[in-house]
């Protein structure tokens, strides 16, 4: 009996040791987790000081195929264009909201990541993608290699994308009035790219892409009113009298009210700031 008890005890001890050993093989964490690292240069410092530290925004300017359409031919950015383009984003977008709505507002709602690429994304249907946003988290800034602060078209196109995507974040937090969706539901279509700007305007939409969905229509109209500006918006209204003009004006009013009621933002003041920002960057 005693002998058997001893053996049993030994077994127990051995089992315990085995168990101990298993616990001791606690693994070192998997290597190279925690993001990529590289020697920091002036661009990294600029981004840290202007975006990451104050707003907790990551700006990816180095090529990373998994952040964009990895199966397409896209060029990485020219380093010399990174800071000028980001300056414009700061001046014409972040600063404008900061002035009108305060720094806390910007910190709370800005997307957490910008991903820059040098060229556009060429799609098989013949369209090109100039920018993209995902889930309010990330904004893609494309065609950075063609950036030219003196070129209003280039500047407008880039900032239009940024304001467009940011407006998505705003309506994802507080939805716009249902009334907006009822204004011209008959025009929303997946093949929006078959419509010219002129035709879209005549249907009461600011751009062809507005036709993609009510959400897109809402943010396109906001972005147009801010970046392209009130003057151009008024011109579209004037050129398309009747029903289209009426719809456009009602959209404008819904947007101005939405900004005031949902976020306490004076939309007209925001328009003025964006216009001033464009002037600063272009001169």
């Amino acid at each position: 009996m005693k002998k058997e008890f001893l053996i049993l005890l030994m077994c127990l001890i051995i089992t315990t040791f085995t168990a101990c050993k298993k616990e001791k093989t606690n693994q070192t964490p998997i290597l190279s987790l925690g993001g990529e690292t590289w020697a920091k240069g002036p661009l990294d410092v600029y981004i840290k000081v202007n975006f990451t530290d104050p707003y907790n925004i990551e700006v990816k300017y180095k090529w990373d195929p998994y952040e964009i359409a990895f199966n397409k031919n896209i060029a990485p950015v020219k380093e010399e264009n990174v800071i000028p383009a980001l300056d414009a984003v700061k001046e014409i977008w972040m600063k404008t909201y900061e002035k009108v709505a305060g720094q806390e507002f910007v910190r709370k709602f800005t997307p957490r990541q910008f991903v820059m690429s040098g060229s556009a994304e060429y799609n098989t249907d013949g369209t090109i993608t100039l920018g993209e946003a995902e889930g309010g988290k990330r904004i893609g800034l494309a065609v950075i290699n063609s950036y030219d602060r003196k070129n209003l078209d280039v500047l407008t196109q880039m900032l239009h994308t940024v304001h467009h995507e940011f407006a998505h974040i705003l309506h994802q937090n507080k939805l716009y009035p249902r009334e907006f969706k009822q204004l011209n539901p008959e025009w929303y279509t997946a093949s929006w790219f078959n419509t010219s700007t002129k035709d879209a305007n005549a249907q009461g939409l600011v751009t062809p892409y507005s036709k993609a969905a009510a959400d897109e229509d809402f943010v396109e109209t906001i972005s147009f009113l801010l970046v392209e500006g009130q003057v151009k918006f008024d011109a579209i209204v004037a050129a398309n009298p009747g029903n289209a003009a009426d719809i456009l004006r009602r959209k404008e009013k819904i947007i101005v009210d939405y900004f005031q009621k949902s976020y306490g933002i004076d939309f007209r003041a925001l328009q003025r700031e964006v216009k001033a920002g464009i002037t600063v960057i272009m001169n």
């Binding site: 050993k21 093989t25 590289w38 180095k62 195929p65 397409k72 031919n73 990485p76």
Partner: protein
Amino acid sequence: MKKIIYYSLILLGLAGCKKSNIAADQRPDERLTDAIAVYQKQLVASENGWIGYLFPKGGGSYTFKFKFDDKNRVITYSDIDKDKATTGKESSYRIKGTQLPALYFDTYSYLHLLADPDPKSAGGAEGKGFVSDFEFSFLASGADTIKLQGNLNGSNMILVRAKATEGDDYIDKAFTNNNYLATIANFKYYYNKLSIAGKEYNVSLNSDKHTISFYYDQSGFKSFTTEYGITANGLILRVPFVDGTTVVSELSGFNIDVAAGTAEFTAAGTKLTMTNGAIPLIIDKGAPTRMFVTKQHTWVSKNGFTLAGVKDAHGVKSINGFTEIQYIPNWFNDPFDIAWFKYNGGNRYGPIFNTRLDPDGKMVFVKSPYGNQANPSGNNPGAAGVAIVNKFYNQFTEVGGYYAFETGKNTFDLVSVTDSKNWIRFQ
């Protein structure tokens, strides 16, 4: 009985111990991290940098020089043009652990011009550029060479450790050397004959796309084409040319005499002389069909005709804003073809013709009106321009026709049958 149970328990315990020992071996993430560190060290360690021979998926070859430092910066030289061969450009790189360790040239430099989908950047095709890469997986590495393959398009690049003699002016020397090789196109006739070990070959050198072709008779027409990497004093064949015991992998020490129509060089330790002549050794009867029917392609000529060694003899480049001639089979309803002259930002003007493929391997272009279309049709480039287009049209529709020779991926040379002094290169 009980004892057996106890002993088996002990054995089980031991077996458990062994299992935990396996975990002490290197894990995949450790090996990957080590591999990245080794590659990183190897790239930086080469004092004079690396010579890169790039073979884009889209065809051709380019020679680069890369100097990597330990701060993720790289200085690049390239033989794309004179400026890029002489002035280095600094950009960024990193080695990333993807499925295979991969070398990313992660901000824009000369390498990216070839992969840029925007035609305005370097003139490649919209959406794909010249079908190249700037993001490569390490396939193999030795002390002095690293083999890379593009992750997106599968282009190949070979990095060779630069010697002390291959300094920052190396790419400029290579560029100059390629221009020197290009003077072979100034020989009077198209055909060049080379004798190796008692056997004769016709050799074509395409210095634009960096390809070399051998044509010879071996119970019928045989051909071999490969890209070459340009060096400071010669060229290296991407794939060596092998015919029986003859192996040609590198040509060096060129001495070209345009007036005499000879080019001397050394291959595999043997001095060889290539001589220019009016008569082809053998013709490629299948080439016209491959060019016209098999490959659905817009054929582009940047220089028009070479006549008796004079490049662009008709002066097509003098047309205002000229970019290229596009020969497009079946542009109109079959069988009407066109050769558009593209000029002055998107304008085009060009003659209409039919292409006839003769069974004896000739390709004949026949002047042909199409319906009530003006011929040439399109936007008139002015009297001087029209005169040039008509000169081209007359030469192109020569009744004798042309022999075709395939000099690379989507590259054909058309050589006049009646007079081999006249030829044009399409790619």
